[in-house]
Amino acid sequence: MPENITAQVEEQQALGGDYHLLRIAGPTIAAAARAGQFVMLGLGDPGEMLIRRPFSIARVIESAEGPVAFEILYKVVGRGTLAFSRLRPGAAMSVLGPLGRGFWLPAPEAPCRPILVAGGIGIAPFPLFVQQLGPAARHAEVIYGGRSAVDLPLAQWFEPRCGTLTLATEDGTEGLRGRITAPLEQALDRADEQEGSCVFACGPHPMLAAVARLCLERQIPCQLALEETMACGFGVCLGCVVPRRHPTDAFDRFARVCTEGPVFDAREIVL
């Protein structure tokens, strides 16, 4: 069950470019969080921010007693994220979470080699994913793309923790030049001959559509973390929908990203 709390900012770290890491106290949310789930964050006063903003839970912070806080990785794109970037330790935020359906990890009896695909800020759910994969992360492959080198703020973090890390930038300032689809295609074709792979992707809509197509063609399991504009985050405003591939009735034609997602099997939805 999600918790609706007023919580304290513990740390705010600028990562260069417009990227920031915000640490928020919240033991219950931190303990319950699954990779791919999100929180709604606001400033409390509706005069300042009328609707809260959704952010993936990027990482969980543990002390000796257990989980104590969580972090979000965000990019300043507008009024809300600009206001968040000015918060300092001790500031209060209104927080609702953890929300939604996260990634479901490969079952131990049906192992698969995880390929994590991130575009830009779509990297946000993957540190927690790697934390929750545990030792299996050493077999994971991460393919991480962005516009330019500054758009890959967490590249260093993944380097020692995963099997392989492939970076790509559209301007060629870091890693391969171009989009992540080329290295993904190679990885998938390699995977065909080896043990089965499973793909987990988060990023801009066109990237997710391309990833889904590549995986569906090869019948490789693929989970996608989607973004839609949200007002409530817990299923009541019906604002955040995505078309379902196989609706059962009219009400069912659209799925709510906040409660039925944000993670979907690529076969469930139409991008």
């Binding site: 609706n4 409530c232 817990f234 299923g235 009541v236 019906l238 604002g239 955040c240 009400f251």
Partner: protein, 309 residues
């Protein structure tokens, strides 16, 4: 020693609410989703998401965008339909002893009548609220709500088939809201809810495209409050039946404002997204406000605005 403040209000047709703070249709789901955050019995009432005779898919996304002090939505009345509402939603709401008002939507008179008939005699429904005002669907409610004649026709038709207290929800997107209000009252409405959202549009100037797939949407939130207050003020001077005011309520002074211009009760809408428990909190704050201002009975505030000569 102070006696407790009376918060009960009378909305006509024998309907007494515990307090004047309800939640607005489309902003509180079917109520049950809010249980983790609020005791539903503390609310004056819950107005559920608009219900049509059959399930509706609603509009394609994007359906939402934030605007200065407000938001624009074009949900398009996605809902489970009246049958599933009766089977799945109503029984648990009844168990919780919540005061449930069903917001009804249709494409034409027959649809409103069909939903009203389906709900007739179903325990757990306190009142019907006819949504003659949704700006986000091409046919039905919105067009009906702009014509006094059509409003009167739908209201009278539902009146004939339902014994439930009947509220009519008005759109502010008209030139004379008072005429529409009078038509609904004359046709047998027991109370009027106002206002629904104002038509608005946001353009993505980089892409030169409307942000919403539906092109336009309905504006809600504090941005509309002064217009909503003015609408309630005008209608209160023209009709005798109770009014339920709404539009941009986020704090207790906003509630008092609507009461003073003539609303007997209010609905909290968009603010519940930001703070799911806000309506219940405002009930307590309203009682405290009354106590602090020497008001023993909240009904003393209704229409108590003083107009300087």
């Amino acid at each position: 020693m102070s006696t407790p403040v009376n918060l009960e209000v009378d909305l006509g047709a024998g309907l007494i609410l515990r307090n004047p703070v309800l939640t607005a249709s489309g902003t509180f789901g079917y109520g049950l989703e809010f249980e983790p955050f609020v005791d539903l019995r503390r609310l004056g009432g819950i107005v559920v998401k608009g219900i049509s005779p059959r399930p509706r898919a609603g509009n394609p996304p994007p359906r939402l965008v934030e605007t200065p002090s407000g938001m624009l939505n074009a949900i398009g009345l996605q809902n489970v339909g009246v049958e599933r509402f009766i089977d799945d939603k109503l029984p648990p709401l009844r168990e919780r002893d919540a005061t449930v008002v069903v917001n009804v939507f249709g494409q034409g008179t027959e649809d409103y009548v069909a939903v009203a008939e389906a709900l007739d005699g179903k325990p757990g429904v306190a009142a019907l609220e006819l949504n003659l005002s949704c700006p986000n669907v091409a046919h039905g409610g919105f067009l009906i709500g702009k014509s006094p004649k059509a409003v009167a026709e739908v209201t009278a038709a539902v009146r004939r088939v339902s014994r439930l207290p009947l509220w009519v929800k008005l759109t502010p997107n008209v030139s004379e809201i008072v005429d529409i209000a009078a038509a609904a009252a004359d046709a047998g409405a027991d109370a009027l809810s106002l206002v629904n959202t104002y038509v608005g549009m946001v353009v993505d100037v980089e892409r030169r495209r409307p942000v919403l797939a539906n092109l336009t949407g309905g504006l809600s939130g504090p941005a509309i409050r002064p217009m909503a207050v003015a609408a309630v003020y005008q209608v209160a001077r023209a009709v005798k039946i109770p009014l339920i005011g709404m539009g941009g309520i986020v704090c207790v002074r906003d509630i008092v404002e609507f009461l003073l211009v003539g609303a007997s009760a209010v609905q909290v809408g968009t603010a519940s997204f930001n703070e799911p428990g806000i309506a219940a909190r405002l009930v307590d704050e309203l009682a405290a406000w009354c106590r602090d201002h020497g008001v023993d009975d909240v009904r003393e505030l209704v229409g108590a605005i003083e107009i300087p000569r």
